[in-house]
Symmetry: C2
Subunit: 366 residues, 2 copies
Amino acid sequence: MRTALCDTLGIEHPIVGFTPSEHVAAAISRAGGLGVLGCVRFNEAGELDAVLDWMDANTGGKPYGVDIVMPAKIPTEGTQVDLTKLIPDEHKTFVERTLRELGVPELPEDTAERAGVLGWLHSVARSHVEVALKHPIKLIANALGSPPVDVIEQAHAHGVPVAALAGKAEHARRHVHNGVDFVVAQGYEAGGHTGEIGSMVLLPEIVDAVDAPVLAAGGIGSGRQMAAALALGASGVWMGSVWLATEEYLQTMPSSAAMQTALVRATSSDTVRTRIYTGKPARLLKTRWTDAWAAPDAPEPLPMPLQNLLVSPAHNRLHEANDPGLVSMPAGQIIGRVDKIRPVAEIVAELVAGYEEALARLEKTR
Amino acid sequence: MRTALCDTLGIEHPIVGFTPSEHVAAAISRAGGLGVLGCVRFNEAGELDAVLDWMDANTGGKPYGVDIVMPAKIPTEGTQVDLTKLIPDEHKTFVERTLRELGVPELPEDTAERAGVLGWLHSVARSHVEVALKHPIKLIANALGSPPVDVIEQAHAHGVPVAALAGKAEHARRHVHNGVDFVVAQGYEAGGHTGEIGSMVLLPEIVDAVDAPVLAAGGIGSGRQMAAALALGASGVWMGSVWLATEEYLQTMPSSAAMQTALVRATSSDTVRTRIYTGKPARLLKTRWTDAWAAPDAPEPLPMPLQNLLVSPAHNRLHEANDPGLVSMPAGQIIGRVDKIRPVAEIVAELVAGYEEALARLEKTR
């Protein structure tokens, strides 16, 4: 299973794996794919620097990338304290009441902050880029589409290609016009920020719209789905959700057992596309938390980045509650096929074998 | 491009084409696929009988099928007149006001009824089956899932296999348990009644869930998409939207030029999944009519079959308005790729050639 992407990125299989866990990212790279580390959880560039040092020591010299969250248009932003003042009392009250009604305990006083929210700020995302470019990264991906042109130029000056997510052909065209090197076509099925066009339709549309390699995202979790993505014209796949159910993920996030239980239990109908996570439509695991926000008495979610600031402390409490029915986690429809927690290498091996089987099956139709 | 389905149905290509037009259905069959004629437009069994006589004379002896609309559970139903009494005044007023605001003219008094609505009634759908089984049909498909078991048995007694649409693996399992022979896996992208799971995820899920051949529906309009569907495990494809943009469609429905113009103009973002057509979620072309129903002052759609009875006269007026911005038509996201009106045979030839190209491309990755 080789495409031109393998040569461009120096990888064995055209599998790009997005994950917030450095243990998962390193394992994907070691298994012959490209592990892409999500940076949004790092409040400070120094934390990211230390984790990338760890990556450099643990990928066995194999290539890896990073994923940032940066809108193309540079927003005016204040400090976290200033922004918090913009959150209406109605929303704060709803969150408090909902957590109480769901029986979510307060955090113990000695609980360390689980994950940052400042990575959603433009200034912090820029510091992530600065730090990442000091490491031997092979890709910068931006979860919010094309980053600002000067960031793309900065990456290119270091010889690092840039990938950007797109949910419509017109977005993909704009990204490539801005200088983006790879487009990640993010179908409706995908976890996290996603549009309304299903992968089956979106992927060939974007492939035909741009003169750049396209990675298929949304609904990819097996070799058959990889074969479908490549049949539709993709140069490779971008996968996220399936890596949440790995042994390596627990090494980075040891308190994620409830989340993993929720993923194993979930069917493909147990996700919901909602603005409650960040203010923009994103697909999440469906839980009593997302149900509460869908109730008639719930307020409309706030715009980005306010919604994230609003719900982030709630996410920490939900996480500590350790209840599979109360997890707040972006996840795609493919989680319906997750039925156990496995090592990353086993998933990659199965993808490769499944791809070959699918091709052998297709050849019999000729 | 051959699968076991070709032998089972006696067709050259594993392409099943659903259409309300007998001219399109016959052309699909003549081109080597299986044309499946939608029966819901026929108010009376006699009308269907006459059209199937025409099919028998115009398919060149090639196989064809019919599509009915029948829930598995037999509903208690009155006459059309009784049912109409159940429609709230609020809904009638909203429809009248909306048509006025959209500038849709009243129908001239001599306008013939364009299409029936009685086909949505269970008793009428049963009469469709009775009539169809007197013709040499090779498939009965049911758009609402598994038909009642006695209808399946009736078809089997005539040696005719039954297909049923499914938007979830559990529905597919139930259909096959009831005796259904083929499952049509209808992904989120599809036109008409559709669920929330995208084709990329749904298709392999249903293939693994049932011991029956599966047809891929939702997002299929090119040979690449056929190759993707077969990579995902489908035995063939079920296509609907693309046939609306054919020369043959105009032969059956000569006043459909505005609809065809709307399809050619539409992008893959110009559909909407809504309950306003039948009471159950169905994907339609997005127009000023669907926008009006999405406005905050619009009433909630009524349950099936009341919603259909409510909007059917409005559909006739919208149709006569002959305005691409006011069409009421089920259509899938694939219409974004429809850019001209073509003969059916050209579409089939392109599907076959595109499939071969996709396979040749995949083989280079080995």
